[in-house]
Every structure is written in structure tokens, then in C-alpha cells.
């Protein structure tokens, strides 16, 4: 699964996710990637999210919207909200994976509870970083 979240100069957030699903899946199984609010979510008032991992858990946890809701209703930062969902809620459920998150101020979070996650960011001044391992 691949995904991207972005903030443009007009202050608008967007999120996108694309996947080939799960090896050996059957019966037209659909994961979280195309489910708005689970694997993908964007709201200028809070954040943009794209997730990757064991989709069934991400659907049941409504991961994308949950991060946004924690920011909207509880006033959490994007980092705290993303960590709350990925490192606590999902772990308690047994869901493995991670997400990328970005708020309107350019703050980013890339939490994951698996052994690794391909990830990276680039900021306004062009500084970038690509990360793979924990």
C-alpha cells in the first residue's frame, strides 16, 4: 500500500492511498485503503491521513477519522492523536501497520507499530528524509 498527504500554499490538505490489497485474499475482500475515514481522510480543520497495514483493523478502528476526531474534539496535536490511535488503540485491537499524518501548519507524524514502514517527507525549504526501519 502506498499513500501521500500534502499541504499546499493555499492551506489546503489532501490525502490519497492506493493498494494492491492482500496476497491470497478471496471473495472480493476490500481493505481500508479505499474506505474514506478508515485508510484515507482529509479535513482542513484537522489533518490529512493515509494508512497502511492490516486493513480489517483499520476499518474497525475508523483510523483516519479517529485521528481527526481526537484533534477536533480533544484538542490533541497531530502527533499525539496519531500516536494514540496507532500505538495504543490499534495495538490493543491487535492491528498492525501505520499511517502518515499532516496538519495545516505543516506538522507531520508517521507512527507505525510494525517492524518497519517505508516513509518519507519533504518540507517547504526542500529538506527531505526517507526512512524505512524503526
Amino acid at each position: 500500500t502506498v499513500g501521500c498527504v500534502a499541504l499546499d500554499q493555499y492551506g489546503n490538505l489532501a490525502a490519497g492511498t492506493s493498494t494492491g490489497g492482500m496476497t491470497n485474499k478471496r471473495y472480493g475482500r476490500v481493505g481500508d485503503a479505499p474506505i474514506i475515514g478508515a485508510g484515507t481522510y482529509a479535513n482542513n480543520a484537522t489533518c490529512a491521513i493515509s494508512a497502511t497495514g492490516h486493513g480489517e483493523y483499520f476499518i474497525r478502528a475508523v483510523v483516519g477519522f479517529d485521528v481527526s476526531a481526537l484533534m477536533a474534539y480533544k484538542g490533541l496535536s497531530v502527533n499525539d492523536a496519531a500516536n494514540e490511535v496507532v500505538m495504543k488503540k490499534l495495538v490493543e485491537m491487535g492491528g498492525e501497520g501505520g499511517l502518515i499524518a499532516l496538519d495545516r501548519r505543516g506538522n507531520i507524524a508517521m507512527p507505525f507499530n510494525s517492524e518497519g514502514m517505508y516513509r518519507g517527507y519533504i518540507k517547504a525549504d526542500g529538506t527531505s528524509e526517507v526512512l524505512i526501519y524503526k
Binding site: T1, V2, G3, C4, V5, A6, L7, D8, Q9, Y10, N12, A14, A15, G16, T17, S18, T19, G20, G21, M22, T23, N24, K25, V30, G31, A33, P34, I36, T40, Y41, A42, N43, N44, T52, G53, H54, E96, G97, G98, I100, A101, L102, R105, I108, M110, S114, E115, G116, M117, Y118, R119, G120, Y121, I122, K123, A124, S128, V130, I132, Y133
Partner: protein, 202 residues
């Protein structure tokens, strides 16, 4: 606002012991290319939606990631693709699921959002919509990669589904080289690549 772009390419058991230097370099190269592509869009005043679409397309076109060209196989030996996009300004969203012939699903997901009154389309209907919208369609064989095919064979033997980047340990340096072989599925001549991946998280 401070233009910013963040990407992911999947999660799983990605550890240094499972990675060869060549493989890591290949992953980093595509991830950097994706970042630079999206950044260029934002830098010239493009929208966040344009940046997201352009960035995801780079990763869809790479066989390294479980999306687009690198998609994994279903139990029946098909590549079924899903994608979605959402606009934070308007809360509009678009998604497609279970498609097999759309080269870049992220672009069709965006068309669903921008050019239809719907949020999600699936299967043949989504493909018909993509065709009507002038999206690039490909033969399903386009999505065939040997590493993913072998991943399915392994999963079939083990009778279980697999998640994205759960990788087998790297081959030792003195391991014998694999010979070219003919795919039983497509008849294509296959070369073992340096990107020997095992299980893939969906």
C-alpha cells in the same frame, strides 16, 4: 502555508536483516523520486490534490510497492486494485475498489471525486467509468511481477493471507543464482530480480 508532503510505501516486517544494500537503495530511490515529484507540483503553486495524485502515481508505477504495477495476487491469481482520495478543503472524496485494468487507480479515484456525484465505484463499473473518463487501461498482465507471483505460491502453500512487507531473510552472498524461468500464468520469461520480497501486508 508551509508546503509539506509526506509519503508511505507500506508497512510490515521490514528490518535490516531482510534488506540487501541494493534493495534498500532501490526503495530509497523511488521514495525520493515520489517526494520530489510531489514537491515540484507544490513548489510551482499546484494544489495538494495535484501533488498527492502525482506522488502516488510514481509509487504505483514502481514494481517495488504493493500498488499499481507491484500489486499482489489474490487467491485466484488476479491483481485487484483499490484507491481513494480526499480533499480537505471541501471534504469531497473519491474511491475505487476491485479493479483489474486501470493502470493508475489513484487518478480514477480522483475522477470519481471530481467528475461524479458518487464516492465509491467498484469492479467493472469503476472500469467502465475510467474508460469513459479517458483513463489509461491496461491488460491485467501489466501488473504481473514474478516476486508477487511467488509470494502467492508461498501463501497458497501455507494457506493463509499475507500482509504487506513481511520479508524473507536476504539470500547469503554465496547462494546459487536462480535461472530464468517461464511463468505458468503468463508464459513470460521471468528474471529473478534483486527485489526478492516475501509476504506483503495488504
Amino acid at each position: 502555508s508551509p508546503i509539506t508532503l509526506v509519503i508511505h510505501g507500506g508497512a510490515g516486517t521490514i528490518t535490516r536483516k531482510n534488506m540487501t544494500p541494493e534493495k534498500e537503495q532501490a526503495y530509497r530511490a523511488v521514495l525520493n523520486q515520489a517526494l520530489q515529484t510531489g514537491y515540484a507540483v507544490l513548489k510551482r503553486g499546484g494544489t495538494s490534490l495535484d501533488a498527492v495524485e502525482a506522488t502516488v502515481r510514481v509509487m504505483e508505477d514502481s514494481p517495488l510497492f504493493n500498488a499499481g504495477k507491484g500489486a499482489v495476487f489474490t487467491h485466484e491469481g488476479r491483481n485487484e486494485l483499490d484507491a481513494s482520495v480526499m480533499d480537505g478543503k471541501t471534504l469531497k472524496a473519491g474511491a475505487i475498489a476491485g479493479v483489474t485494468t486501470i493502470k493508475n487507480p489513484i487518478s480514477t479515484a480522483r475522477r470519481v471525486m471530481d467528475k461524479s456525484e458518487h464516492v465509491m465505484m467498484i469492479g467493472p463499473g469503476a472500469e467502465a467509468f475510467a474508460k469513459a473518463q479517458g483513463m489509461e487501461l491496461v491488460d491485467p498482465k501489466y501488473f504481473y511481477t514474478e516476486t508477487r507471483w511467488q509470494g502467492l505460491q508461498k501463501a497458497l502453500q501455507e494457506e493463509k493471507v499475507q500482509l504487506d512487507h513481511t520479508e524473507a531473510p536476504a539470500k547469503p552472498a554465496n547462494a546459487p543464482k536462480a535461472r530464468n524461468a517461464e511463468s505458468p500464468k503468463t508464459g513470460a520469461i521471468l528474471n529473478e530480480t534483486i527485489f526478492t520480497e516475501g509476504n506483503k501486508f495488504g
